[in-house]
């Protein structure tokens, strides 16, 4: 198993840092899957995560100037690592002005991702900062746990409102309640509702638009023929929603969510070179 990668371009580095920051806000530990063309940050829906799961996909060519990897075996040319994204985020945090950042998988005392940042200095030789981030190698026999989640058979799919506004609404609601109800219909209307003994607050969003999913076999069947005004709703943990929104540092190109009534809410955030899917299960 070998992995080496290098980033030289500052814009790519900042972009990559931003992705890592977003991931680190969503979960304490996650799985990093490396393939020849792509990197995936995966969180599978174990009970420990509160049932939430995440799938984030990056095309390595968009970030790395050099990328070499050799998987566990020829026919399984992939590497699965368990890591704490906060560590990676911290290592990259102080690399704003770096000349180059190299990432390498090493195994001195234990498997580590070694991030070496070359910083400019006043003298002729650069300053080198190395961070050894401990990782766990995930054995091939449990790779199946980390497959891409399938798109759920949703009732409603709707574009999200401007994330900044949604974030500030959710943050205030978080002070009042632990759960939030998201409901939306196929007429571009979404409501965020909380209800406690003392107070209930609803924020209404209109004219959001609904993504035109091309009909595929068997998919979206529950969405077709549905009353346009009828709301699909799900009650979810407000903290998870807040973490998702707070982690977005840049406005995504597309942001939408699919709601399966009373079951799950599936968020999709698309940037130019990164796609993030986040599933929050509905609470009873």
């Amino acid at each position: 198993m070998r992995f080496r990668a290098k980033i030289v371009d500052l814009a790519c580095l900042n972009n990559f840092s931003r992705v890592i920051n977003t991931i680190s806000k969503l979960t304490k530990t996650c799985t990093l899957r490396l393939t020849v063309c792509k990197l995936y940050f995966i969180l599978s829906d174990k009970v420990a995560n509160g049932g939430a799961s995440m799938w984030c996909e990056l095309c390595q060519g968009n970030f790395f100037d050099e990328f070499q990897m050799e998987g566990v075996a020829a026919e399984h040319n992939e590497i699965y690592l368990e890591l704490v994204p906060e560590n990676l985020s911290r290592a990259l945090k102080t690399a704003h002005s770096a000349k180059a950042v190299k990432i390498k998988l090493t195994n001195k005392h234990c498997p580590c991702l070694r991030v070496a940042v070359e910083l400019p200095s006043l003298s002729s030789s650069s300053r080198i900062v190395t961070h050894d981030i401990p990782v766990g190698v995930i054995p091939r026999r449990i790779w199946n746990d980390f497959r891409e989640p399938t798109m759920p058979d949703f009732d409603v799919s709707i574009y999200l409102p401007v994330l900044k506004i949604m974030k500030s609404v959710v943050e205030r609601m978080k002070n009042l309640s632990n759960f939030i109800v998201i409901e939306a219909n196929l007429s571009g209307e979404m409501n965020l509702k909380i209800e406690t003994d003392l107070v209930s607050v609803t924020t209404h969003f209109k004219d959001l638009g609904n993504p035109p999913w091309a009909s595929e076999e068997g998919c979206q069947s529950s969405a077709q023929g549905r009353n346009l005004e009828s709301m699909a709703e799900a009650c979810i943990d407000i903290k998870k929603l807040q973490q998702l929104l707070a982690g977005q540092q840049v406005n995504p190109t597309k942001a939408l969510c699919n709601i399966v009534s009373k079951r799950i809410v599936h968020f999709i955030l698309l940037h130019e070179d990164v796609s993030l899917q986040y599933f929050i299960p509905a609470l009873a």
Binding site: S125, R127, D132, P134
Partner: protein, 349 residues
Amino acid sequence: MFFQHYCWTAVSDPCHKEKELSLPCKLIVKAVLPVFRCANVLGRNVEKCSISTSPSDHHITFQLLCKHGVVKTYNLTFQECDPLQAVFAKHMCPNILKVHSRLLADVMIHFPTSQEEITLSVTPVKVCFKSYTEEDTDFSRTMVTEIHLSPEEFDYFQVGVDSEVTFCLKELRGLLAFSEATGVPVSIHFDRCGKPIAFSIEDVLLEASLILATLCEAQKEADSQERCCPQQWGSSETLPDKPSGDEPNSTDISKNPQRDGNAPTSPVAKQEVKSIPRVTGRDVTGRAGTPTAEAAGEATEAPYQKFHSLFFGAVSHKEKDATGHTFQSLATASDTEEDLGPLQSSPVL
């Protein structure tokens, strides 16, 4: 340089043989800060600030006489204390680095704020700071950071002996913040592991030193027993009575600060003179005729017998103030230090 008028009256205490020339006391910094907050507001409104003490009832009074006849008075209680002095001969250190505080701050920023200790390792051709993890930590969980610098980045670089010293980063951050504010370069004096490391900044106006103990492999077992304890110094008031305190050259006095102005007879080698109450011109650190006043800081107990002593000296050119505040000469016992820090809890031979 700071004061328009500075007056100290020595109070002779009948129960002590020698006159007490100083009032060692400590104030809680958080209590003093509000007095001088908002420097620009102060600059606009305050015409005069007067600071006075009344030792009998343990008060220091800060009075800000402002415009329009407004007078703000702050009465703060102080506690008398026996200041700790780190006994340490900077000039005897084989390794000396001098660097602008900005560089050190840029280096420390790569370590997480929760990082307790770091290791500085030097050879004549390279300098490396790395995070220190105790032997029993789970390496599969801790992130380790290392920073390599070239000697050229330092304003002054002298490495007499290859060494690797581990010290408390948290304590250093405070001094770095302070030195960045003053813009003064930081000097680092150290030796092999186990011997203390000193970070100091020196300016026309002030001098500050932070002396930290460093970890030594052999010391680790002794950690739990060795504690730096202010009580060791507690007897200093009666010190001059002790026969061991009579000879300035004796290593016995290494632990005990002399209270009166026994002029150091051999300022070189063992002694680091901080202030010379009556004798002028003999100052090992090379600033002739400039007595330094110090308010000794606190030593805190910490794991691994770590301690620090932070003292500030205001350098004043006025000779007459020399009789005022004081501190005494310190003799170092660097040859008896062995692997322990300068404050030894075991009796000196």
